[in-house]
């Protein structure tokens, strides 16, 4: 049972974790770079240690520096937050080896989920389906590929195993195109990557990104805490999230939720976790599991009324989860706008001094931030400056609250994406609900949302 927690992070999440620790009567230790010496997470901690210079790799990512600070401060547990070292199995292992508590799952769970193929296999064993495909390199004979493609259904995607980031991929619309496409992709892969291995996967044309939050303890109990929709993304970065995922049958969500909780019980997973899915035509396909607290956890807190970070710490202390699945009720709707210091149009970071800072208020409005007037936004770290979270009784009511809150918020001295958010919440398709993961980029490419 630990009494002192070292928070190996900065920004709004460091403050969020500090608050959870305080409500549990735990001491908090902050670590910081020279750049963050005046940061609020440093000022509010019970003790703070400078661990390195501004670049994250020499401070917030420096495992040894963090372990040294833990030793000197007498902390017994480390909370990694999100980003930085939160999903680094090697770091979690070092924390465990030092006899400390890593507030998160066991290092072995992080390692399994970090390996795409191992994660898919673990999910399949738990009865959770993945995007259908060849589950490994295709054999050389085209006949085998033909049979597989027919079974999973066209259109399919041929991908070079050595490719990535959109390179070495080809869409196949129907059976007559498969053999030539296969030959061409293999030849291209041989030339581009020196490796002609390819695999086949079902092409999802208009999927949504839906995720299920889970919470598990050390005693074999696990619950799921509703769904979130994070389809509004740009370059795989989430921009605006909501809970629950609109327009999906509650029965299907409950069935998926149960399977996720069962997978946690089966694998001995503990702590907070998120199962991410692509959802198309009412079907869920597992993509990956995040073995940490997520940026968008707040929308789940709003609809469930449960303090996720507090529970994450309590289960790490070995406490039994006294929440039964039937006690978890999702009420109303919630949105989270990620406000970033970035230039509209180019999306380039906009570091600098915050000259004006007016926050919105009113019923159901929550702002998680580490920024205030006069703060300096560093070029060394993530550009997230605030999470504007809004809760209401229905999706429409909540969206009206979000529109108002975004209009009330004012940031001066640096550029932000506030105008983008203001445009998104008035976009007819978004207002209707259920847009796919390509919607935001498609709108931006059309010159919309300006």
């Amino acid at each position: 049972m630990f009494r002192t927690v070292l928070i190996a992070n900065r920004g709004e999440v460091a403050l969020r974790i500090q608050r959870a620790c305080r409500t549990l009567g735990l001491r908090t230790i902050a670590v910081h770079s020279t750049e963050d010496a005046e940061a609020p997470h440093v000022r509010h901690a019970d003790a703070a240690f400078c661990i390195g210079p501004a670049p994250a790799r020499r401070s917030y990512l420096d495992q040894t520096a963090i372990l040294f600070a833990t030793e000197v401060s007498g902390a017994e547990a480390i909370h990694p937050g999100y980003g930085f070292l939160s999903e680094n199995a090697g770091f979690a292992r070092r924390v465990e080896a030092a006899g400390l508590t890593f507030i998160g799952p066991a290092s072995a769970s992080i390692a399994t989920m970090g390996d795409k193929i191992a994660a898919r296999n673990a999910m399949r064993e738990a009865g959770i389906s993945c995007v259908p495909g060849s589950d490994g390199p295709l054999p050389d004979e085209a006949a085998a590929a033909m049979e597989l493609a027919l079974r999973i259904g066209y259109p399919v995607l041929i991908k070079a195993t050595a490719g990535g980031g959109g390179r070495g991929m080809r869409v196949v619309a129907g059976p007559s195109d498969l053999a030539p496409a296969l030959a061409l992709t293999k030849e291209e892969a041989r030339q581009a990557f020196g490796n002609d291995a390819v695999y086949l996967e079902k092409l999802l044309e208009h999927p949504r990104h839906v995720e299920i939050q889970v919470l598990a303890d050390h005693h074999g109990h696990a619950v799921w805490l509703g769904s979130r929709d994070c389809s509004l993304q740009r370059r795989h970065q989430k921009v605006l999230e909501e809970a629950p995922a609109p327009g999906i049958d509650e029965g299907i969500i409950a069935e998926m939720g149960e399977r996720c909780a069962a997978a946690c019980r089966r694998t001995g997973y503990r702590g907070l976790g998120t199962f991410e899915f692509l959802v198309e035509d009412g079907r869920f396909y597992f993509i990956e599991m995040n073995t940490r607290l997520q940026v968008e956890h707040c929308v789940t807190e709003m609809i469930t009324g449960i303090d996720l970070v507090q529970w994450q710490i309590r289960v790490a202390q070995g406490e039994k989860l006294d929440l039964a699945q039937r006690d978890i009720r999702c009420t109303g709707h919630a949105f989270e706008s990620r406000i970033n210091a970035e230039h509209p149009g180019t999306f380039a970071p906009s570091p600098g001094r915050v000259a004006a800072w007016d926050l919105p208020g009113g019923p159901g409005v929550r702002v998680d931030t580490h920024v205030s007037q006069g703060s300096v936004i560093s070029r060394h770290y993530d550009s997230l400056i605030a999470k504007l979270v809004v809760h209401g009784s229905t999706r429409a009511d909540t969206l009206a609250r979000l529109q108002l809150a975004l209009d009330e918020m004012r940031v001066g001295g640096i550029a932000t994406n506030l105008d983008l958010h203001r445009a998104i919440v008035r976009d007819p398709d978004f207002v209707a609900g259920g847009v796919d993961i390509h919607h935001l980029e498609r709108r931006l490419a059309e010159g919309g949302l300006r």
């Binding site: 040294f68 999306f347 380039a348």
Partner: protein, 141 residues
Amino acid sequence: MPIAEAEQIAAWLAGTDIEFLELRSADGCLTLRRQGNDVAISREGAPAPQEAAREITVTAPSVGVFLHRHPLRDAPLVRPGDTVPAGQILGLLCIGPLLLPVAAPRAGTVARMWAAHEEVVGFGSPLVELLATEGTGDHGH
């Protein structure tokens, strides 16, 4: 870097959405910063050679508990007024079972101890003030 090359990089930068570029080398630091459609170039020479600065503040390389003396000894490793060669151990940083030596980067005289014995320090905390011996060009590290 010759000025022509810096201007070429500035021209490339103007066509991108990069706001700020910093190039560091042994010769100094070149900074390119976008201001609207223009790119401002500023350069600083290499830091003045250490010989010029007589007062040297030795800072902590890590979090730790600063010790003036080894835990098994009674006498301090150095005292103000002591003359020390480069590389001489001035104090120790205690991190759990680890003892990290803090060495003099140059030969000189110990002017004062900034951090008290058993004081908890962080990265960059001033530990010892050295007055470098003039004319010696040797560098510890």
